[in-house]
């Protein structure tokens, strides 16, 4: 009877390609819960302590640098006239870009029912939050008088002075803060069922209390699940346009200006594609070691990595197209200032920042093309090495856009060079420390993979599933 049932309802071997399961080795639900929750239970491993202390040490550069910056002046950086923005805004756009993958994975892939997202979305979202925190430091503190930055908020005041709603920088303030808020809520809502799981497994009283508090009284009832799924769907809907809008608006900082090299209509899609590109590169950078350390190969399978590598090569190619197109348009426009900004500021070997431009080109356009080869996509080590290029390249992209355009614009009399100061370098390094520090805390204190969603992609979660090896069930019949 059971034999017959399988041939009737199961996948027809030989007639249909079998979809590779998203969780390999036929792991059970119990195994999944134990394995993920185990990452934050039991003894804290030594490597975690070492990594935490190291990253915390580097992260302390941030408060010290900011204290020095605010106490002394923006002059401690290398910025000057004409390059009034340099590493500050470069780093801002770099981090904001990294923060794109998380929401893309959790919202757009959710709406398009890409089930493979489940193993990576939690960590990617956490990465988003931390990257946006790092990003926010730069625009907030790059201003000359940070203590007056509240002027940016549309607070009714006696002078009736509002912020300038025409300024892209103000749009940035709204866009980034909205993005951060929505991403945080989205992430947190998604965490609630898993927090309840941790609460239920907790042994200590304090632990139970804290996770209980965070789980918001989740009991897993049918009505709660219905509410949860609606809320999650709505938030996914809200987040999806944000993925596109934030980096579009960040690109407006440049696109709406008059500076050759900035004044480019292709920027919004080009920035979004670049952000997804950089974001996925960073997800891979983080998740490949995490996968190895915590033995998550069964949940973050080669298939996941393969998929992400494909996205990297696709977005990398879009970015490459954008680079070539803006170059073409600069020539085709017939505007000598525009063409100069590309040819003599960036492209030619005699251009002062040619090294940055060609680093960008190599890292973002050439290097990811290796992902056309399956061998490169499935070799985890190779993937990790290759995605370092987009990580570097995307930083250079922003540097190239910002610095090379500014350093030589319309009047040659005002041309200058930018050289970073030690403080530029230390603050940027510090944000990496902060990012890793937060991510390490995340790994230890929150479930890094969505337990309940991974269970939902198990074959067992399918109502039509029938375990071939299970004993015949009789309960229902009786």
């Amino acid at each position: 009877m059971s034999e017959h049932a399988i041939t009737t309802f199961g996948p027809a071997k030989g007639n249909m390609l079998e979809r590779r399961p998203l969780v390999s080795n036929q792991r059970s639900m119990g195994w999944i819960t134990n394995h993920i929750a185990g990452m934050l239970e039991g003894k804290i491993p030594l490597w975690w302590w070492i990594a935490l202390v190291l990253s915390a040490g580097v992260a302390t550069l941030v408060p010290f640098q900011l204290m020095y910056l605010v106490g002394t002046g923006v002059g401690i950086w290398g910025s000057n006239q004409p390059v009034s923005w340099a590493w500050d805004i470069t780093n801002f756009v770099f981090w904001i870009g990294i923060g794109h993958a998380g929401t893309l994975i959790s919202a757009i892939l959710f709406l398009t029912r890409q089930k493979w997202r489940t193993s990576i979305n939690r960590a990617a979202e956490a990465m988003t939050i931390f990257a946006v925190i790092c990003a926010g430091i730069f625009p907030a503190f790059h201003v000359g008088r940070v203590w007056m930055a509240w002027f940016l908020a549309p607070i009714p005041n006696a002078n009736a002075i509002w912020p300038n709603f025409k300024s892209p920088l103000l749009w940035d303030v709204f866009a980034v803060s909205t993005y951060f808020t929505v991403s945080l809520i989205f992430w947190y809502i998604g965490l609630v069922p898993d927090l309840a799981t941790i609460r239920d497994r907790a042994t200590g009283k304090i632990r139970k209390w804290i996770y209980g508090f965070l789980a918001l009284g989740w009991r897993g009832g049918n009505r709660q699940w219905r509410h949860y799924e609606k809320a999650y769907l709505i938030l996914a809907g809200i987040s999806t346009p944000l993925v596109l809008s934030v980096h579009s608006i960040v690109s407006f900082d440049f696109a709406t200006s008059v500076i050759p090299g900035w004044h480019t209509t292709i920027f919004p899609p080009y920035f979004v594609a670049g952000a997804i590109f950089g974001g996925f590169a960073m997800v891979l950078t983080l998740m490949i070691p995490v996968r190895a350390i915590f033995g998550l190969e069964d949940m973050i399978t080669r298939k996941h990595i393969d998929n992400m590598a494909k996205i990297v090569v696709m977005t990398g190619s879009i970015v490459g197209y954008a680079y070539l197109m803006e170059l073409f348009i600069a020539w085709y426009s017939g505007n000598p200032n525009e063409w100069w900004a590309f040819l003599h500021n960036r492209v030619l070997p005699s251009a002062p920042y040619a090294w940055a431009y060609w680093s960008m080109m190599f890292c973002n356009v050439i290097a990811p093309q290796l992902f056309w080869f399956k061998a490169c996509r499935t070799n985890v080590l190779a993937v990790w090495v290759i995605v370092q290029f987009p990580n570097i390249g995307m930083w250079f992209e922003r540097f190239v856009i910002i610095c090379t355009s500014l350093h030589r614009d319309f009047l040659p009399s005002s041309w200058g060079m930018f050289v970073p100061s030690i403080n530029d370098i230390l603050l940027f390094t510090g944000t990496f420390g902060l990012f890793l520090f937060l991510f390490l805390l995340f790994l230890r204190f929150l479930p890094a993979i969505t337990i309940f969603e991974v269970k939902a992609v198990l074959p067992e979660a399918d109502p039509h599933y029938h375990d071939p090896e299970a004993k015949p069930q009789h309960g229902a019949a009786h």
């Binding site: 009034s84 923005w85 000359g144 303030v173 008059v258 005699s350 319309f410 009047l411 040659p412 009399s413």
Partner: protein, 1009 residues
């Protein structure tokens, strides 16, 4: 303002008893309210906290009482001996009172020696002119009358020979108001690029020591008196066509021609130039001979001989700084030490105050009564505006003390105007006929600042050449072939710190040099080819920038006459080959905090025999550490862009609208607006606008410092300037012709003999300002008068506006430049905070002193606008009307001696700026060579430029290249001139801007109701 070349008539603004801003005296015909760079900057010297503020006895702090007790004892001894063993070394301030006291001193102390020393003044001019026209003769050049001018190493616009009248006369003579204007023509022959060379229609680079040969050939060509002394001179490699055609042009101009020689030139050259001017019939026309008798004095060389002979036991130094700047062969420092008692009156406790018996603090000219001969020879009054801040005393006060002129009860020194009044009485008695009303005359003198009609009249002077030939022969230095082992060194007064006296003036130190754009330094200037041939040229200067973004140079060792000096060098295009220019005035070992250790002391190579030009110098690369320079402009080429537009006047006559169809604008369509901003209300409000004339601008930098003084702009120090963080609201861009990229690629050096153009830039107050839309907090907005205004206390310092400014005129306070020590900017809160008390006094109370973290830029002197409006409302008691036409000047405009800057109300049909820019609303056509910078961006700037029109002599070699770079590029692109005409005519038809600048094109012009 007293000056060794003649005082400047000034009018100083004073608030609450503190003078804060210097302007020219509008009553004086030479000034008409205009002034120059040093006058503008000299106010900062008044408030210099490092000025000498104490009496010092043998290195120890003392007080006035002890000092005068000691002086009284000494004075008694000197009187007993009739001044035997006593010597005075003074500066030459052209002060009639000081001259009078000197004469009286020489009478009272017959055995005393009186010597004068002005390191910045070459004696050759005086000696040449006196040889030509007799003792006491001084030349006054009338550039206003000159049609053709030939300058021989004379920077008569900004250098040693400059005067306000020169600039005014020259500028008025070539102001272009339309294709029908006539222009004077300037030929310049010079070794280094000067502002005069930049202004010239034809410029020839020639080593200073070779100019004598050119003069000889020129004299022959114009048929000057037979000059046998020049006949034997070797030919130098000058294009004979150049001399021939220039001479023909001079001859054609007849008595409207003018030939001038610079102070680097020998007495013989000045004599020959006098002969040439005589031959052209210029005396009484463009050259006036006046007589200014001065008391006789010894030279410092003669004094040194007396000291060496042990004749001098007491030496009084009245100002000056001989230990620093005396001719090196005198070894003055040792000489001064060998004198038993040295009394030194000095502005700073500097090199010359070391090891003296007494140092007395000298007062600033704004602190004490005085008088001076003005640049035109008229008699000027110096009225104090403030009591001496540091208890300083003046030269005449000290002289009066030595002469026992009775001082008021209880005081050592005579006070008040008594000394000047006495001189005034005596001088007036020679002018006045009938009853002399002293009270009235004196009050008028003080009120006007000068005595009317006191300028000496030109005298018809016979040219005494024949008797002088022998003298000239003796002083003749024969030009020798120069080469890399026989270089020429030319000493020049620095354009900023002069002979060194302004070295502690931060405004001047931070001011970019007009040609090199160098700040906080001096350097040996030489041509690219010379540097290459000497092998001192390193790759560093290809781009000029080392890895840390700073311009650096190798240090070289200059050797001449057995003396040597280590100094960095700068390559300057257009410099004569094998000639090295050394600007004097830097490298002080001891002075105030600003000037100490800045630059290199070129006096160490300067001897008493050849104070101006030396030959036989050699240069080797010293190696070792590179010297960092703070240069404000790193790129010298316009790269073919239509930024500074120029053209010869002949071309302008043929194509009156050519200016607006050059460069990118020959291709771009008319600017269109999808969105028209609310038009400005021309009925109710003033609409401010500015025009800068690139034809008459000589790049003298007076406007830059005037702006700095008016607007409380801080200095930021060498380190910050090198980082590109200078704060000047106004700058003067300097471009050489040619493409930097091409030249660097091909040869790796700068062009050999390019043309140079200058362009002053302030905020252009765009009606459609890119900075305004991007400011997130509305800190920079437009007001109803068309000003782009900055609200400092609203600014949070995102710097987005500066990024988006296509003209890069915005300046950011990277540090708290007003509150922090410039050498401790990076210390932040750990460093001391606060401003020197005297510097607080120097601030303009009507302008906010900006804190760190805010953006700033030119405001079109909004404080002056508001003051004028308030004053007008108060005086007229009518609330709605506008201020009278052109009754207001911005600081830059007010200082501009060439009147190149015109500011005014565009809503007033009578305003000058409307006549220039044109205004369709009022049917004013405007000048057809008015153009907007980067017009295609549609920023609609309120500041537009008048293109630089030049007047080349078509027969001169290279005349077809003068001022034609952009035009040639245009015509090349359009294959032939006819095509250009068509395109250009079509453009003119299409563009209402032909009559009005785009700023008032139809979309934006308000419709009168």
């Amino acid at each position: 303002m007293p000056r060794r070349t003649g005082g400047l008539p000034l009018l100083v603004t004073s608030y609450n008893g503190r003078p804060i801003k210097i302007e020219g005296n509008p009553l004086h015909p030479a000034s008409k309210g205009k002034s120059d760079l040093l006058a503008q900057a000299s106010i900062l010297n008044l408030y210099d906290p490092d000025r000498s503020h104490r009496f010092v006895q043998a290195g120890k702090r003392s007080d006035a009482t002890s000092c005068f007790r000691a002086l009284a004892e000494a004075k008694t001894l000197w009187q007993q001996g009739g001044g035997k063993g006593l010597a005075i070394l003074s500066e030459d301030n052209l002060s009639p009172t000081e001259d009078r006291l000197q004469t009286e001193f020489q009478a009272k102390y017959p055995s005393a020696l009186w010597a004068t020393y002005e390191p910045g003044r070459a004696g050759s001019v005086q000696s040449g002119v006196e040889t030509a026209y007799g003792k006491g003769a001084v030349l006054r050049h009338r550039y206003d009358l000159a049609k053709v001018i030939l300058s021989l190493d004379a920077d008569f616009l900004t250098g040693e020979e400059s005067s306000l009248a020169n600039v005014r006369g020259f500028a008025d003579g070539r102001r272009v108001e339309g294709p029908d204007s006539s222009m004077n023509r300037l030929y310049a022959v010079e070794s280094r690029y000067t502002n005069t060379g930049a202004a010239a229609d034809h410029r020839l680079r020639l080593p200073s020591s070779h100019i004598v040969a050119l003069v000889a050939q020129l004299a022959a060509a114009v048929g000057a008196q037979n000059l046998p002394i020049f006949s034997a001179l070797p030919e130098v490699s000058v294009d004979p066509n150049w001399i021939r055609e220039a001479a023909a042009d001079l001859l054609a101009a007849g008595s409207k021609a003018l030939v001038v020689a610079g102070s680097t030139q020998s007495a013989a050259v000045h004599l020959a130039v006098a002969a040439i001017n005589e031959a052209l019939g210029n005396q009484g026309s463009t050259v006036e001979v006046i007589r200014l008798p001065r008391p006789s004095s010894l030279s410092i060389v003669e004094l040194a001989a007396q000291i060496k002979a042990g004749q001098i036991t007491d030496l009084i130094l009245l100002g000056g700084n001989p230990v620093y700047n005396a001719p090196v062969d005198l070894a003055w420092a040792e000489l001064q030490k060998s004198v038993k008692n040295v009394y030194r009156l000095g502005v700073y406790e500097d090199e010359s105050s070391e090891a003296v018996a007494w140092h007395l603090p000298q007062a600033h000219y704004l602190e004490c009564w005085g008088d001076t001969l003005l640049q035109d020879g008229s008699y000027g009054c110096i009225q104090p505006l403030i009591l001496p801040l540091h208890g300083g005393i003046s030269v005449s006060q000290l002289l009066a003390y030595l002469l026992n002129v009775p001082a008021p009860e209880g005081k050592e020194l005579i006070d008040g105007p008594a000394l000047v009044q006495e001189t005034f009485k005596r001088k007036s008695s020679t002018l006045q006929t009938g009853v002399f009303d002293f009270e009235n005359a004196w009050n008028l003198f003080v009120r006007d600042g000068f005595q009317a009609k006191s300028a000496p009249d030109a005298t018809k002077s016979p040219f005494l050449f024949s008797g002088a030939a022998a003298v000239a022969e003796n002083r003749m230095s024969r030009p020798q072939a120069l080469g890399k082992d026989n270089l020429e060194i030319v000493f020049v007064n620095d354009g900023k710190v002069d002979d060194g006296r302004y070295v502690n003036n931060g405004w001047l130190q931070e001011l970019p040099d007009a040609v090199t754009k160098l700040t906080w330094d001096n350097a040996a200037l030489m041509s690219p080819a010379t540097a290459q041939e000497l092998g001192i040229y390193s790759g560093v200067q290809v781009q000029g920038i080392t890895a840390d973004g700073i311009y650096r140079s190798d240090v070289i060792t200059l050797t001449v006459d057995g003396r040597s000096l280590d100094m960095p060098f700068l390559i300057v295009p257009g410099h004569a080959d094998y000639s090295i220019t050394l600007p004097l005035g830097y490298g002080h070992e001891k002075t105030g905090r600003v000037g100490q250790g800045v630059g290199f002391n070129a006096y160490r190579l300067r001897s008493s025999q050849n104070p101006s030009v030396l030959t036989g110098a050699t240069v080797v690369k010293k190696g070792g550490k590179l010297h960092p320079f703070a240069v404000t402009q790193e790129h010298w080429s316009m790269e073919g862009r239509d930024i500074v537009r120029e053209g010869p006047i002949a071309y302008y006559k043929e194509h009156p609208g050519f200016v607006r169809s050059l460069g990118i604008e020959s291709h771009t369509p008319e600017n269109l607006n999808f969105y028209t901003a609310p038009p400005f209300d021309y009925e109710k409000y003033h609409q401010w606008g500015m025009s800068i004339d690139l034809t008459t601008c000589i790049g003298c930098n007076a406007c830059v410092v005037a702006c700095q003084a008016e607007n409380n702009i801080p200095i930021v120090g060498k380190d910050q300037v090198a980082k590109g963080r200078e704060m000047h609201w106004m700058r003067i861009d300097r471009y050489f012709s040619g493409s930097q990229r091409d030249i660097e690629r091909k040869m790796g050096v700068m062009p050999t003999d390019p043309e140079m153009v200058l362009q002053p830039l302030t905020c252009l107050h765009c009606e459609n300002a890119p900075c305004e839309t991007v400011c997130p907090v509305n800190a920079t907005v437009h007001n109803e008068e068309g000003l782009n205004v900055m609200a400092y206390n609203r600014c949070i310092g995102t710097r987005y506006c500066a990024n988006n400014c296509p003209y890069k005129v915005r300046r950011f306070n990277w540090f708290d430049y007003n509150q922090r020590q410039l050498d401790q900017l990076y210390w932040g809160p750990l460093g001391p905070k606060g401003v020197e008390e005297t510097l607080k006094l120097s601030k303009n109370p009507n302008v906010t002193v900006r804190m760190r973290g805010v953006m700033e830029k030119c405001t079109f002197c909004v404080q002056r606008i508001e003051t004028a409006k308030i004053d007008h409302k108060i005086t007229t008691e009518r609330r709605e009307i506008k201020i009278p036409t052109d009754s207001l000047q911005t600081a830059c405009q007010q200082s501009c001696p060439a009147d190149a800057i015109v500011f005014g109300d565009l809503s007033d049909p009578k305003s000058r700026v409307n006549q220039i820019k044109g205004n369709e609303m009022f049917g004013i056509k405007g000048y057809s060579h008015d153009y907007n910078l980067l017009d295609y961006l549609n920023t609609r700037p309120r500041l537009s430029y008048l293109a630089r029109i030049r007047n080349p002599n078509p027969r001169m070699p290279g005349a077809d290249k003068v001022g034609r770079a952009l035009i040639d590029a245009y015509e090349k692109k359009h294959h032939h001139a006819e095509g250009h005409d068509k395109a250009h005519d079509a453009k003119q038809g299409l563009k209402p801007g032909a009559a009005t600048p785009a700023g008032h094109s139809q979309e934006t012009a308000p419709t009168p109701h």
